[in-house]
Structure formats: structure tokens, C-alpha cells
């Protein structure tokens, strides 16, 4: 069927900020869909609140809106753009839910917008657990016995019928949020109440447990002609009970015979037809009883998903891209397979390698959170590894996770603890499995404890046996055959160095001597049956190399590895941009990364893609094969930077800022000296190894102080200490954690404003990319703070100082490319907190706000171009060049995963905990802030009741806020102290009980819906638990909760703007155009 001609303009909804359960895989799928539809001649209108995405690049869609993903804003955009169709299936659950809302509220009908890719009915049948079960039963498929409940009483009655354990799943939540397993009545009662609360429709499914069964997923596609194909089968290493997003998964399925697999395939075809997904990709999850093969259907998603992104990367079959084409009426047999070019997309990929995905968790960021893995997803990212065997892929996957130190079981682990560690799935279970094997625990017992399929356990047994054999020789006495064999098992040089008590370099040397080096194989969708034209490669210790490296000028870009807090999609965005720019300039670009969720690992993004771990060994192997002119390390965050010096030592041509400069900026002592030379102030600071010393230097510096370990990523384990005891305790704790590493102690600048600056430099010239003012004061991690561009409260003198310092720093560090500086401004004094001569988290946000693609410009600078030749829209301020400031405000706000970690306090601090960000754009600062808050899930009220509870420092500055809120018509409630402070300023406020003061207290009021906005700044230890319960209640009942006074002031301005302005939307293309006109220069650096 040819593509539809009756549609011209298509609206695509993105998935919003990165959160647990919905990460950059939807940027990958959305960007693919955009490109595919554009290539077919459609006009794409795109909406997403997340500025760090490739899909929101103004070049990608015809019209791009960075606006909150809510019904009101969508209606406004639809009214303005009048698209004929809406594609809701490439933006995750967010887009799907929003599309349902738009459809059910009559908006789509009103504006005559047709939903394509999935019908409302299909979405409802697939999403509503009961309808879905009915649909399955209707076609004779089995589902776990279950019932829906909407109150606790019915639920308790039900548990008597079904027996324990029981699975509880709230309806319509993301990534299994609020799901759990109950083993007894007490647990069940608690679980069901949480589940009902979290479900937007106050409903939950209670289900027979299939715990310990084998778990599978099929990624399937269907077109209008009813052609049906399976793209990939995925088997979960961890059996049922662990969310598939938290499971190690393997593709293709490893432990099914063809008969069993085909039965599953038939079932998937029957389901997609019954549910009525007419076109596009879906995934279907199955559980199989290992005892008798009984197969039950768990669920299906009528859209592209995290698994479909994984399946696309695992097979080379771009599911989202094809799904978009199917949605406009094309059929699978009309679409060519990109990789083979000569065969159609209507086929089932064959895989002649094994793919292993391993999730990445960060429980260390959320003290108090339960790290047991269950039906609710808790991982923040994932890695994928490709090997020719499961063993090789597993070991490559484990090293792709970049553990900061290799995992080791505590020497004295009693067997009982070991067994518990095996039986209860937690992030470290894979390591305990290896430990158990080394200890000689029997494979059968391990299977019994873990319920992991014996085949997988046997594979791991083979790995330990191999390592044991390796341990019987040394690096010098190892034969070539043994070395090759152990490398064929996937062992890294580093692992071997540990076994042989030597250095990875000497293992590498021995390999070079024997000629044991990896070859590169292609991912080609067809197991080599046809020639492939897309160099998508992975390493393996095999005979034949297929890399076919070219002689063209080429530049290699190192990606950022698995998503984690502090290092996520922003860096992938920068890597992609580097590749785009250098490709445009005629270089061959080579991407190296191991994160399957990203756009950078799309085979379309770069000329060549190496899906490999980002370790020295793996990167060197690629460099040896490709011999690139330059390697870029400054776009992928800390991961490639950690390799920079070692790569350089091994003769790799690093381009851009020298690794030595990057190192200097991270070395406190040397960097301190540099600042002195440059006459740039920084907070007083010192280091200490022992508590006594720490107490002394803290007193010298002057309290409060910021205390942190000497190695930092995303502000891990930082605290602000207001007294000497806290400092001493911290140092004592740090000493317990590991070998003597100094603790860093910095003067903490109270009530200071923090500022982020991104700048470009070519070694001789400097251009400021953007100056961002943080809305929360210093002390909140920059990644967790909202910020605004341009700044709203800084004086011209301060801004000029910032510009001048930035220029000095960039020149002193000989920056070529990007640099980020963090400043704190206290009483008009500008201090430098930190300099990172590399791409920062804020680069995509600044690029979207200014219309100048900073990462692209930086990549070109690294490749040798000069700023002067780039024709950037520059203005000169105080003699420093700066990208022209525009006539609108862009506010960036963070998004937190607190709803996934019950019991974790939500207060912001120096430790970064946000997973993603959103952006609000408006002509007024208040409106931009309100939009950003809304996009981040905090719907600021226009009227109602505000509860205030602030600490003593904030009480002094409360009057302005109180006045503003009163004027806006809010009723004010406050704790006694805060109420007194307000009354002292002549503002009426009603006093309410704290939690420990009597009933009804503030938490009761929150629970009964009497509060519309909470402003609660932390008081310190003594009332810690009281405040924690308020903030937890706020999250549970989804009431906006603001924890700093600065943000509260911004919110008041935002509410004011909501009263004045109403809903306004603007496309990036228009904003950038007006700005370019104003500055008289082209909007883009291209």
C-alpha cells in the first residue's frame, strides 16, 4: 500500500523528562520516527518538554515545541498547528496516556486529528489489565488468575481465594510504579493501599504469582496488510518476579526449542490481532513454567518500548523508524532493509551472536531505599554487550557497567548469607553468583535458590572453570592457546591482570606478542546471508575481521556509557552533535558506546558504530583497527575523560582540550594555584585525612563547610556541615569506607547565588555560550537546581566579572572546544567553584535556548576550525564575545525519582539525585518557571491554600513571599514559628500543628486534600522526621512541594504569570528566527 496522501502534517508526542522506566530510548524512537516521516515528505510537529533530546533539535521536525506535556498545552499546539494526524506510539507511556486523554476529552475530534499507529480501542485493551485478560482468554490464551480491585476490603477478600504470594499492580502507572509482591496479609494490606493511591484511576490488579517462571519477550510488528513479523526474542536471565527493566536479559532467547518458540510466536500474532494494533511495533511478555511448559501471557505494550529499542540495537532492525512508516500506510514489504539494502523490512532478523543487557542501578544515591528488585523498576540505565557466545557477551556487559572498583565479596561471608544473597534478587546478584561458583556451591543448589535456568548457571560455571584454569599459570607462562581461549570467554585484560597479579598493560603486551587480538564482526540483521552496507560492529576473538576500515579522514567519538544520575542523555546529545557536525564537514565519524537506549548507538548517527565497552582495552583495539586522525573524549561525560590520559600515553591522538588541562582542572592543588595566578577568587578550602585534622581546618576555613570525597561524579556523598562534629563524623566514616583518600573541605558560601556558564574556545578566542542563574541557592547540586537563562537577578558588574573570569580560565586552560564553569556569587563577589573543560549537562539546554548548537561548534573547533570562521550570532560585552541574549526566558527544572524509592527523603542537597530535566520557555520569567514546574510534574495552583514551614534563616526573608501569595489570593497556613514570622511582617497566616504537636496535623491536611502547595525549607536534624513525613505525603498525594525559598519566590512569580498570561506556546523555529533577526546573524553555527 503506498503511503497516505490525505495526511500532510503529523504531530509526534515525546516522552518528557528522563525518569526511571522511561529514559532516552524514547528520544531514540521519537527521533527515528521524525526522520522517517520527514523522509516520506510529511511535515512533523513535535512536542516534548525535555530539551536534552535529539528529537527537539530544531532541524529534525518542521515545528518543535518544548512545552509541558499536558492536555492544555497540547490543545493549544493542536489549535495552532492543525495537524491531521497524531502518532502516539513513539513517546512511551507518557505519549500514550496523553493521547488517550486528548482523545477522550474530545480534543482530537474537535480539531479533526486522527490517531495513527494505534487506535484508542487498541490502547485501552492493551493497557487495561482486565480487558487485556479478557482479550487473551477470548483467543484461548492463558493469563495468570487475577482480579481488579478498587478498595482494600475487596482486595483482602480476594487474597483468601488466590493464596500467597500475590502480585499487586496498580493500573496505568509507568515502569511498574507501585507494583509489589506480597507474601502475607500484612504485606498485602500495605501494598494494596500504596497501589491504589498511586494509580491515577485508583485501581489495582491482584494476581496469581508466577514467581520463578521463565520470562520472555517478543518484539513484533504488524502492518495494514496484516503482515506480521517477530523482530527479536528476548529471554530474561532473572526469572519472573524481577521487572524486566531490572533483569539481565539476553537476545535471542537461549533456552527454548523451536516448538516452544513458535508457540509463543503464534500467541503474539494472535494477541496483536485481537487487541487490534493495526500497524506498528508491540511487545508481548510471556511467562513459562519451567516444570511443564505452561505458558501465560503477562502483558503487551501497543507501542515502541525500552525493549524495542534494545531489540533494534540487538538486531540492527530499526523498529521505531519502520513503525512510523507503517503508521502512514506503508507495508513491510515496501520498506527496504537499510542494512542489506536489497532485501525488504518484511522478514525476521537472524542473530549469529549473543546480546546481553545489564541494568545499571544507583542505590548509593538514595540511602534508605530498598535495593531488593521486584515488580517495580529501579535501575537508572543499562548497558548492552555483543559477543559470539553468552559468556563473552556477559563479561563484556559487566565491564561496560564501569564499576569504579571491581566487585569483591567480603572475605568472610558465611554460607547462609551467600544463600540469602542468591535467593533475593538485588543489583549485585550476578557477582554473588560468580562468588558462589568460586566457593564451589553446587550448580543445582544455585538454580534452586535463584530459579535461574540451569543453562545460564552452567554458562557461569564454565566461566569460573576457565578462570580457574587461567589462575594455574602466570602472564609469562600462559600459552597462546590458553590466552586466546580465555579471551574468547570474554575476559578483560584487567580481569586477567587481577588473576595473574600483574598490570593490564603486561597482559596486553603478552597478547601483542602472541598476536591474540580481537576482530570486528558486523551486526547485519541476517547472520551474513546478505552483504551489509552499514558498518555496525562488535569485537570478538574470532578468525575473520569484517571491519573494512576506510582510508578517509576520520574522527572517533567516545560515548558516555550507561545512563546514570549526573551522566545521562545530555552527553549522548553532545556526542551525536559532534558526529553530525563532523560528518557534514566531510569526516568519517566513528562512534563508540555501549548504551542501547541512545541515539548515538543508532547505526544512522555516525558513519561507523562500534557497540563496545568504554574501557581502555576495548577502545585501544578499535583505535588500532581504525587509526583515526582524532579521538574526541570531552563529549561523553566522565567516562571517556577517565580514559583520556591513558589513551594519550598509548599514542591515541586526542583532539580538543589536552587531557593534561582536563586533569589540571580536576587537581585541586594545581587548580588552586592557577586561580591564584589568574586572580580569581575561590572558596577557602583544604583537605584532611583524619577527623582531628578535619576539625581544625574546618574551623580555620570557617563554618559552614562543604565536605566531600576527593573523587566526584554528580556530587556523590557530599554534605554541608554547620558544625565541627558533622565534619569529624564524615571524615571518620570516609576512613571506614576504604583506603586513605583525603576528604575535601570547602568554605560553604551561604545565601550565595550559583551560576553556570558554558563557553566555547579555540585556544585563542573565547565565546560565552550561555550564562545560567540557578534558582535554588548554592548548596543544591547544580544538576538538581532549576536555572534560568538569561540571568534575572545578577548585576551588570557581576555579569561582566563572570565573563572576564570565564575568558581567562578558557585561555589559561588552553580550551579547544567546550568548557563549563560554576560560579557562586555572594554579596557581589564572584567565586569559582568548579571548572570542567568539557561538555556539560547544560549544553543541550543552552543550545535550545539560544539556537546555537554548541556541541556542533565545539566539535568543529576540535577538528581545527576557528571561532572567527563560524559566523556565530555574537555580541561583545565587556570585551568578551557572547552568544546574543534573546528576548525570552528559558527555565530548566530537574525531575526526581523519589516516587520509586519509598522512604527516601526528598530534600535537595549537594548530592545529585535528579534523573532528568525539562525546560519552560516564555516571554516572562514567571511563566517560564511555571511551565518548567508543570513539565516536571509540579502543577502550581492558581488559587487555594499554601502551607509554609521555613527555617530560621529563611524567616528573615519571608515577607516578600508572604505578601505575594496573599495578593494572589492564597489562604496561608503555617507552622507556629513560621506563622509568627509572617504575622510579624503583617501577613495573616493560620497556624497548624506539626506532626508531633497534635491532630489534625499538617500531614492529615495533606492527605485530606486541604493543601494545594507546600513550601518547606529544611530546619535541620531536630525536626528531620517531621519534615520528611510532610514531603513524603506531598509526593504520595502529588502536591507541589518546594524546598527552597528561592524556588518559592520563583513559584510565586510563576503563579502570578499564570493569572496574567494564560497558556501560550511557541515553536523553537519561531523563537530562534526572531532572535537571529534581532542579532543580525544566522541562527545556527552550521
Amino acid at each position: 500500500m503506498p503511503k497516505r496522501k490525505d495526511i500532510k502534517k503529523i504531530l509526534i508526542i515525546g516522552s518528557g523528562p528522563i525518569i526511571i522506566g522511561q529514559a532516552c530510548e524514547f528520544d531514540y524512537s521519537g527521533a527515528q520516527a521524525c526522520k522517517a516521516l520527514r523522509a516520506e515528505g510529511y511535515e512533523v510537529v513535535l512536542v516534548n518538554s525535555n530539551p536534552a533530546t535529539i528529537m527537539t533539535d530544531p532541524e529534525l521536525a518542521r515545528r518543535t515545541y518544548i512545552e509541558p506535556l499536558t492536555r492544555e498545552y497540547l490543545e493549544e499546539i493542536i489549535a495552532k498547528e492543525k495537524p491531521q494526524a497524531l502518532l502516539p506510539t513513539v513517546g512511551g507511556q507518557t505519549a500514550l496516556n496523553l493521547a488517550v486523554e486528548l482523545s477522550e476529552s474530545g480534543i482530537l475530534e474537535k480539531y479533526k486529528v486522527e490517531m495513527i499507529g494505534a487506535s484508542l480501542r487498541a490502547i485501552k485493551v492493551a493497557e487495561d489489565r482486565l480487558w487485556f485478560k479478557d482479550a487473551c482468554r477470548k483467543i484461548g490464551l492463558e493469563v495468570p488468575a487475577s482480579a481488579l480491585v478498587n478498595n482494600a476490603k475487596d482486595a483482602m477478600r480476594l487474597c483468601d481465594q488466590l493464596g500467597f504470594p500475590l502480585v499487586i499492580r496498580p493500573s496505568f502507572t509507568l515502569g511498574g510504579t507501585g507494583g509489589s509482591i506480597a507474601y502475607n496479609k500484612e504485606e498485602f494490606a500495605e501494598s494494596i493501599s500504596t497501589a491504589l493511591d498511586l494509580s491515577p484511576v485508583h485501581e489495582a490488579l491482584v494476581e496469581e504469582s508466577v514467581l520463578g517462571w521463565k520470562e520472555y519477550e517478543l518484539e513484533v510488528m504488524r502492518d495494514f496488510r496484516d503482515n506480521f513479523v517477530v523482530i527479536c526474542s528476548i529471554e530474561n536471565f532473572d526469572p519472573m518476579g524481577v521487572h524486566t527493566g531490572d533483569s539481565i536479559t539476553v537476545a535471542p532467547a537461549q533456552t527454548l526449542t523451536d516448538k516452544e518458540y513458535q508457540r509463543m510466536r503464534d500467541a503474539a500474532a494472535a494477541i496483536i490481532r485481537e487487541v487490534g494494533v493495526e500497524t506498528g511495533g508491540s511487545n508481548v511478555q510471556f511467562a513459562i513454567n519451567p516444570e511443564n511448559g505452561r505458558m501465560v501471557i503477562i502483558e503487551m505494550n501497543p507501542r515502541v518500548s525500552r525493549s524495542s529499542a534494545l531489540a533494534s540495537k540487538a538486531t540492527g532492525f530499526p523498529i521505531a523508524k519502520i513503525a512510523a512508516r507503517l503508521a502512514v500506510g506503508m507495508s513491510l514489504d515496501e520498506i527496504p532493509n537499510d542494512i542489506t539494502e536489497k532485501t525488504p523490512a518484511c522478514f525476521e532478523p537472524t542473530i549469529d551472536y549473543v546480546v546481553v543487557k545489564i541494568p545499571k542501578w544507583q542505590f548509593e544515591k538514595f540511602p534508605g531505599a530498598d535495593s531488593t528488585l521486584g515488580t517495580q523498576m529501579k535501575s537508572v540505565g543499562e548497558v548492552m554487550a555483543i559477543g559470539r557466545t553468552f559468556k563473552e557477551a556477559l563479561q563484556k556487559g559487566i565491564r561496560s557497567l564501569e564499576p569504579s572498583t571491581p566487585w569483591r565479596a567480603p572475605a568472610e561471608t558465611p554460607d547462609s548469607l551467600l544463600r540469602e544473597k542468591l535467593a533475593t534478587p538485588r543489583p549485585d546478584r550476578i557477582y554473588w553468583l560468580l562468588t558462589a561458583m568460586e566457593r564451589g556451591l553446587h550448580g543445582e543448589e544455585i538454580c534452586e535458590l535463584t530459579k535461574i535456568d540451569p543453562w545460564f548457571i552452567h554458562q557461569i560455571e564454565e566461566l569460573t572453570a576457565m578462570n580457574r584454569r587461567a589462575a594455574s599459570v602466570t602472564v609469562e607462562t600462559a600459552s597462546k592457546d590458553l590466552l586466546r581461549e580465555v579471551k574468547r570467554h570474554g575476559a578483560s585484560d584487567e580481569q586477567l591482570a587481577q588473576i595473574w597479579r600483574t598490570t593490564p598493560a603486561s597482559v596486553r603486551l603478552q597478547r601483542a606478542r602472541y598476536g591474540v587480538s580481537p576482530v570486528f564482526k558486523r551486526v547485519d540483521t541476517c547472520a551474513a546471508e546478505f552483504e551489509s552496507f552499514t558498518p555496525y560492529l562488535y569485537s570478538s576473538y574470532e578468525d575473520e575481521d569484517e571491519s573494512d576500515a576506510q582510508q578517509r579522514p576520520k574522527i572517533m567519538i567516545l560515548g558516555s556509557g550507561p545512563n546514570r544520575i549526573g551522566q545521562g542523555i545530555e552527553f549522548d546529545y553532545c556526542c551525536c552533535h559532534a558526529s553530525y557536525a563532523l560528518r557534514e564537514d566531510g569526516f568519517e565519524t566513528i562512534m563508540v558506546n555501549c548504551n542501547p537506549e541512545t541515539v548515538s548507538t543508532d547505526y544512522d548517527t555516525s558513519d561507523r558504530l562500534y557497540f563496545e565497552p568504554l574501557t581502555l582495552e576495548d577502545v585501544l583495539a578499535i583505535v588500532e583497527r581504525e587509526k583515526p586522525q582524532g579521538v574526541i573524549v570531552q563529549f561523553g561525560g566522565q567516562t571517556p575523560l577517565n580514559l583520556a590520559l591513558e589513551l594519550k600515553r598509548n599514542g591515541v591522538p586526542i583532539i580538543g582540550t589536552a587531557p593534561e588541562s582536563i586533569d589540571l582542572a580536576e587537581d585541586r592543588r594545581r587548580f588552586g594555584r592557577l586561580l591564584e595566578e589568574l586572580k580569581i577568587p575561590q572558596p577557602r578550602n583544604a583537605t584532611a585525612l583524619i577527623p582531628e585534622e578535619a576539625a581544625r581546618v574546618a574551623a580555620e576555613i570557617g563554618l559552614p563547610v562543604l565536605v566531600r570525597p576527593s573523587y566526584v561524579l554528580g556530587g556523590r556523598a557530599m554534605v554541608i556541615a554547620y558544625d565541627v562534629n558533622t565534619v569529624q563524623d564524615y571524615v571518620a566514616q570516609a576512613a571506614l569506607m576504604g583506603p586513605a583518600r583525603p576528604v575535601l573541605i570547602d568554605q560553604f558560601l551561604e545565601e550565595a547565588t550559583e551560576v553556570d556558564v558554558d563557553a566555547l574556545a579555540d585556544g585563542a578566542e573565547v565565546v560565552i555560550g550561555g550564562i545560567m542563574e540557578h534558582i535554588e541557592e548554592a548548596g543544591v547540586h547544580s544538576g538538581d537546581s532549576s536555572c534560568v537563562l538569561p540571568p534575572v537577578s545578577l548585576t551588570p558588574a557581576v555579569l561582566d566579572t563572570i565573563r572576564e573570569y570565564t575568558r581567562r580560565l578558557a585561555l589559561a586552560l588552553k580550551v579547544v572546544g567546550l568548557m563549563n564553569v560554576q560560579y557562586a556569587i555572594q554579596r557581589d563577589t564572584v567565586y569559582v567553584l568548579e571548572v570542567n573543560p568539557r561538555a556539560s549537562r547544560t549544553v543541550p539546554y543552552v543550545s535550545k535556548a539560544t539556537g546555537v548548537p554548541l556541541a556542533k561548534v565545539a566539535a568543529r573547533l576540535m577538528a581545527g576550525k576557528k571561532l572567527a570562521s563560524m559566523h556565530l550570532p555574537i555580541v561583545k560585552n565587556n570585551g568578551v564575545a557572547e552568544i546574543a541574549v534573546r528576548e525570552f526566558y528559558s527555565v530548566k527544572s530537574p525531575v526526581f525519582p523519589f516516587n520509586k524509592f519509598r522512604g527516601v527523603d526528598t530534600i535537595l542537597g549537594p548530592e545529585m539525585r535528579s534523573t532528568g530535566e525539562v525546560m519552560g520557555i516564555s516571554t516572562s520569567y514567571g511563566q517560564a518557571f511555571a511551565k518548567a514546574q508543570l513539565a516536571a510534574g509540579q502543577r502550581l495552583p492558581r488559587k487555594g491554600t499554601v502551607f509554609l514551614s521555613v527555617n530560621d534563616r529563611d524567616k528573615k526573608h519571608l515577607a516578600a513571599l508572604g505578601n505575594e501569595l496573599s495578593t494572589l489570593g492564597f489562604h496561608l497556613l503555617a507552622t507556629r514559628g513560621t506563622a509568627a514570622a509572617l504575622e510579624a511582617a503583617g501577613i495573616q497566616a493560620e497556624a497548624v500543628f506539626k506532626v508531633n504537636e497534635g491532630r489534625p496535623n499538617i500531614v492529615d491536611l495533606v492527605k485530606t486534600g486541604k493543601i494545594d502547595l507546600i513550601i518547606n525549607t529544611p530546619l535541620g536534624r531536630e525536626s528531620f522526621y517531621d519534615e520528611k513525613s510532610i514531603r513524603r505525603a506531598a509526593i504520595r498525594y502529588n502536591i507541589p512541594c518546594i524546598t527552597t525559598l528561592a524556588a518559592a519566590n520563583a513559584a510565586a512569580r510563576g503563579i502570578h504569570a499564570l493569572h496574567e498570561q494564560g497558556i501560550e506556546v511557541a515553536a523553537l523555529q519561531d523563537l530562534h528566527k526572531s532572535q537571529a533577526a534581532a542579532s543580525g546573524a544566522p541562527a545556527s553555527g552550521d
Binding site: E260, P454, E542
Partner: protein, 311 residues
């Protein structure tokens, strides 16, 4: 069998013995731990090759020499070596992998409520058992007969339909089968698979040719030209029917391979005959093409109707 890695253990609720024991029992050698992808690429580039396996240390040059002495596949008549010695009946239906209510409800078989069984004579050129099982599932009374069975003998038992099986080797030299099929066309409904399809092509006056490296595997897209739908099919053949060589007056092309556009199926415009190049019984492989067995039984039903074009 050549694999990258050979599993040393079994892990499946249906397992009765290890792969190693099974292969030993059938005297099938296994080569593993080699770069199988390199081997595939080699065959893709140079075409299907004759090969030899040795473990006794014979020098490689000697082995290459010996391999070159092996007869080429083109011109090789193998059906007579693998066919059954005498006719036998087949009664077993499909294997159920696990108790599930849905196999029945999906209505895989037409058996429901029908007492009449179609008598099918299956010519064995190297037949796959799953074809027989599916015929049984589709309510057939199945008799397997040797490849050399004559048309007269076959028609003598008054079958409702003739099935022409898959099998190894070049179809062209199997003159006796081509002759037999020519006599059967129009006399009785005929359904052919794989080698059976190629033999039908030759019997209808067409030509066959050898493919460079054949079609193997379970993911070949085949378009049914009558319905415009694509089936994912299992295939295993080294020869193909040249569609241009078929008399267009009598023959309609029904299926085409989307990867290389070779012929995958045809039917006679007047006589009750159709055949496919791929394996609709697909075991291993997807079940997309099971409908052909229903078409076969429908064709037999229609042929039995009084007033049909039956002569």
C-alpha cells in the same frame, strides 16, 4: 553439524537426552568452536561448496583433492537413495509441547465434526515427518509410497489427493518422478513441497536451475501474490524453478521470495495442482503457511463434489 558453541548440558522440561548422545546415536559429527560466521560469509561469496570432514590428520591439500572428487550436486539424483522401500501408513498428528487449551480453540485442524478422511498418497523423495503429521492433523488418511511408484499404481488406490514431498539433490535427473507427475496432473488433486514443487515445474514443461548458495533458514519472506500477504517461511533448497520457463497458459505464479525474487509457488490454472518451494510444515520454523494444508483438503473436497471439473 557445525556450531560456534555446543551446549554441554540440557535444560528443558521436555528433554529426554543430551544433544551429544542424540547425535552420537545417529552418527552425525559435530564441529564446534570455529568462526561459523566466517564460514557463512565464505559460502555466500563463493557459493555452495563440496566439503569433507576429517579427524585423522590427513594433510589439507589431500582433503581438498578428495573433496573435489566428490560428485557435484547439480545432476545428482538422491531421491531414490532416501525414499522408503515400501508403502506404509502414517497416523501420528502434531506434537503438543505443553498442555494448553488454546491449540484446540485456535482450530489448527479441520477435523472438527468431519468423519470423512481424505485419502492422501504421499510420494516420498525424502519426506519430512512433520508434513505427515500436519496432513493427519488436517484429517487425512496418509499413505507414504516409494518415489518410484507409478502413476497407474498410485491412481489404482483411488486417492483423494497426491502429495509430492521434499527431498535432496537436483530435480532434473529424477526422470521417473517427472514422468509420473505428468500423468497425475488433472487426474487427482496434487500438492507439492520443495523438491515436489520443482518436480511439478519440470513436469509442467518448465526448467530448474541451481542457486548460488541456496535458501536456508526460517526467516525467508515469501509474498503470496493472490492475497498480497507476506509469510515468513522455513526454507532449505539449492535449486529453483525458473518461472519464465513455465507455460503461462497453464501455470499461474502464486508465491515469490522477497529477498531474491525467485519463484516460491505456483498453481495450475485448470488442473487441481499447486506447489510451493518452501516448507509450510516448518519444523523448525514459523507456522504462517499452515493454511496450505487447508487449501489442499479444500481442493480435495471440491474435487470430490459431483459436477466438479473432475474428468
Amino acid at each position: 553439524m557445525i556450531v560456534r558453541e555446543f551446549s554441554q548440558i540440557t535444560s528443558n522440561w521436555r528433554s529426554s537426552e543430551s544433544a551429544q548422545l542424540y547425535l552420537n546415536r545417529h552418527k552425525i559429527p559435530v564441529i564446534w568452536d570455529i568462526d561459523t560466521r566466517a564460514l557463512v560469509r565464505h559460502i555466500r561469496n563463493v557459493g555452495a561448496l563440496r566439503g569433507i570432514v576429517a579427524t585423522d590428520g590427513t594433510p589439507a591439500e589431500q582433503l581438498v583433492f578428495e573433496a573435489k572428487q566428490l560428485p557435484k550436486m547439480a545432476g545428482l539424483e538422491l531421491a531414490s537413495r532416501v525414499t522408503c522401500a515400501k508403502p506404509y501408513g502414517w497416523e501420528k498428528g502434531s506434537v503438543e509441547v505443553a498442555v494448553s487449551p488454546w491449540a484446540e480453540q485456535m482450530g489448527e485442524s479441520d477435523a472438527k465434526g468431519e468423519s470423512y478422511k481424505h485419502r492422501v498418497l504421499a510420494f516420498d523423495y525424502g519426506i519430512k515427518q512433520n508434513i505427515l503429521r500436519l496432513l493427519v492433523d488436517h484429517n487425512c488418511d496418509v499413505w507414504v509410497v516409494p518415489a518410484q511408484t507409478s502413476a497407474e499404481d498410485a491412481l489404482g488406490v483411488k486417492p483423494d489427493g497426491i502429495f509430492l514431498s521434499n527431498g535432496p539433490g537436483d530435480p532434473e535427473p529424477i526422470g521417473y518422478a517427472i514422468e509420473t507427475i505428468r500423468k497425475l496432473i488433472g487426474q487427482v488433486p496434487v500438492f507439492g513441497i520443495c523438491l515436489g514443487h520443482q518436480l511439478c515445474g519440470l513436469a509442467l514443461g518448465g526448467k530448474t536451475f541451481k542457486l548460488k548458495f541456496g535458501h536456508h533458514g526460517s526467516n525467508h519472506p515469501v509474498k503470496n501474490l493472490l492475497t498480497e500477504q507476506v509469510e515468513i517461511t522455513a526454507q532449505n533448497h539449492g535449486f529453483a524453478v525458473d518461472p519464465d520457463s513455465l507455460p503461462s497458459r497453464d501455470v499461474e505464479i502464486t508465491h515469490v521470495n522477497l529477498n531474491d525474487h525467485t519463484n516460491e509457488g505456483m498453481r495450475h490454472k485448470k488442473a487441481p495442482l499447486f506447489s510451493v518451494q518452501y516448507h509450510p510444515e516448518a519444523s523448525p520454523g514459523p507456522h504462517d503457511s499452515h493454511y496450505l494444508f487447508t487449501e489442499f483438503t479444500d481442493m480435495m473436497k471440491e474435487w470430490r463434489q459431483p459436477g466438479s471439473s473432475r474428468r
